[in-house]
């Protein structure tokens, strides 16, 4: 049925502004022309002025990849844990990784949290991860990826239960494993080591629930399968247990947790064991003792592996180091920090079963945000290289340094 045409002029299908303009009385159209001729030049001048003002605004630093670099080092066991996931500015990512290379560390551990890339329903936004991997590759660095945290949709709603980003129940292990698979698939041939979860023997890392080795073994099993399905050559690192003597609802001894993992047959679900070992106030050669948390506690971990017939599985120390915070009772003097750190490298080089020791941490985005981490860092937020950085660099590259003991 044809629409009613009150004007009786439906032959020309004109519509919108043009038709309305034609329908205007002549006087209105001439007014418009007069207004346009009066104000358009002014608007044009204002536009030019705005463009000129915009051109005065400082341009964001332009980041370009330079020629591919290689790491020069006499000590390939040196590794650092970077914190680039929270670094917004790309030039800072590039500068950080350049300093890692210049220091002579060929390997980094970096954190790639699931919720940071997850966009729901199996979709991921890899923009920031791509940026980090691209710059690490450009600097000639090997990346060990630490995977963890949980997006909001995989946690109970806040009105039902208040949780943290580490709250992961068995119902969502398959979803986490899917993320592991997607990550491994995306960075196939570029990232060959992934750490599954962080310090699962702490309640803090389970969203406040008691540490549960059985649950972690299941998470490891599913993640291992997903990772190897995506890339058979990938190496899955399990463990990353926190060194602790505590046995309570908030923490479980790393040694007991690992024993339980072996009892559950979890050795089948990791290709290397990630270990966290800190010296606190003791030197690197302080002898291992189940009742003491020190650097050589890693030897007790190794004993458990050997006892369970897993001697061929290598250890990667993915977190270690000493703090020189004058306000902390678990810290040491700056010179002791240097001496202990270099001794730790020597010890790891002498252990055929240990591949690397990654210093926690290289640099954090804002020192003021976390004093504890700031005093573990080798470089301050403003990129000032601390004496310990210069000492490690001199050690790695065979240079003279006033800070070498």
């Amino acid at each position: 049925m044809k629409a009613h045409d009150p004007a009786g002029d439906s032959a020309a299908p004109e519509s919108g502004d043009h038709a309305r303009l034609r329908a205007m009385p002549l006087t209105d159209r001439s007014t418009l022309r007069r207004l346009a001729s009066r104000y358009l030049p002014r608007l044009a001048r204002l536009g030019v002025l705005a463009l000129a003002l915009i051109s005065f605004a400082p341009a964001p630093p332009r980041v370009v990849l330079g020629p591919p670099q290689t790491v020069e080092t006499h000590h390939p066991e040196i590794c650092v844990h970077t914190r680039l996931t929270d670094e917004v500015e790309e030039w800072k990512i590039q500068r950080t990784l350049a300093l890692v290379r210049e220091m002579g560390a060929p390997t980094i551990v970096e954190y790639f949290p699931w919720p940071y890339v997850d966009r729901g329903e199996g979709r991921y936004d890899w923009t920031h991860s791509d940026r980090i991997i691209r710059h690490a590759e450009n600097q000639g660095l090997r990346v060990i990826a630490r995977l963890g945290l949980v997006p909001a949709w995989a946690r109970p709603p806040a009105e039902e239960r208040v949780t943290s980003l580490t709250y992961l129940t068995e119902d969502y292990f398959d979803e986490f494993a899917a993320f592991v698979g997607a990550f491994v698939e995306r960075y196939r041939g570029r990232v060959e080591d992934v750490i599954i979860w962080n310090e699962p023997n702490l309640s803090l890392e389970w969203g406040g629930r008691a540490p549960d080795p059985d649950a972690y073994a299941e998470l490891l099993r599913q993640s291992y399968a997903a990772a190897h399905a995506a890339n058979p050559d990938v190496r899955v690192l399990g463990g990353a247990l926190a060194p602790t003597l505590e046995t309570s609802g908030s923490a479980m001894s790393d040694l007991a947790f690992l024993e339980r993992l072996y009892e559950l047959g979890a050795a089948e679900w990791f290709d290397a064991l990630a270990v966290h070992t800190y010296g606190f106030t003791a030197p690197a050669d302080d002898p291992p003792d189940p009742g003491v948390v020190n650097f050589r506690r890693v030897e007790l971990i190794r004993e458990i592996m050997v006892r369970h017939g897993d001697a061929d599985t290598p250890i990667v120390i993915t977190e270690s180091g000493w703090s020189d915070d004058p306000r902390w009772t678990n810290s040491v003097r700056p010179g002791q920090r240097i001496a202990y750190t270099l001794d730790a490298f020597e010890q790891v080089a002498a252990w055929p079963w240990a591949e690397a020791v990654c210093i926690w941490n290289f640099r954090i985005p804002v020192d003021q945000a976390n004093r504890r981490d700031a005093y573990f860092a080798l470089v301050s937020s403003d990129f000032t290289r601390k004496p310990v950085y210069e000492a490690v660099q001199a050690y790695a590259r065979g240079w003279d340094s006033p800070y070498l003991p």
Partner: protein
Amino acid sequence: MSRLDTVRKWARRHPRWTVALAAGVAALLTLWALTRPGMPLGPIDLTWHRMQVNRDFYVGIDPSYPPFAEWTPDAIVGIEPDIARKLGERMGVETSILIMGYDGLYDALYTGEVDLILAGLRADPLYAEWVHYSPPYFDAGQVLVSRADAPVGEMAALDGKRLAVEIASAGDQAAQRWQRRLDTLHVERYLLPEDALVAVERGEVDAALVDAITAREYLRTHSGLVRAAEMTAPDEYVIAMRRANYRLIEAVEASLADMQADGTLDAIIEQWLGPEPSTQGERNASS
């Protein structure tokens, strides 16, 4: 014709506009003056107002740094809690010490949970927009220590001499800067600051550049050494307050100045760190 002449000419031609402009400027200046802190139309320091009404005073302290602040089973003790209590006493209010982790201190100040922070803070430009820092109540910087029979008062006097430092410390970095300024400065590095002081005693070096707290403790039992009067590399501890609390800032700084003048501050520090060792000048004066 100068620009001033042009303005005069314009003013003569437009007397009404000139008067109106002058009146406008005067009004703006008056408004600006009246709305300054402390003036009748100025902002009210609500924290100070609350303190006057409730007679209370909340201080944020991180008790992880003895003897500056320590959490014992009985109480929060140390230099900083004592300073906080004395400040409260002098301002006529009751001090409540709130203990918190170091990283939560500025958040607590920002949200108004505490009125000030006393926790070995250094002035930090990152917070300058909203935080006011008091003058220092303690200087933990690097100080020169030398033998009393061969005193060294300043770094410039060390040309051609030997200096001991704690390796990788702020003293070490200061010594490296001085190596560039002097013709020759031999720097000997030791693992601990006490080792550097032993080297001075033994005559292996001419002076040591160590932190003031270590120097203070060591010199208490080693009378053969003296410290320089001035810090070579200061490291000043200050009190942080919200910039908006101008009346509290005035009151705290006045109380702190009084405590410095009447010896209360020194007495608190001496109670926890022992008496301040005499400087080279004081030794000379007494002898």
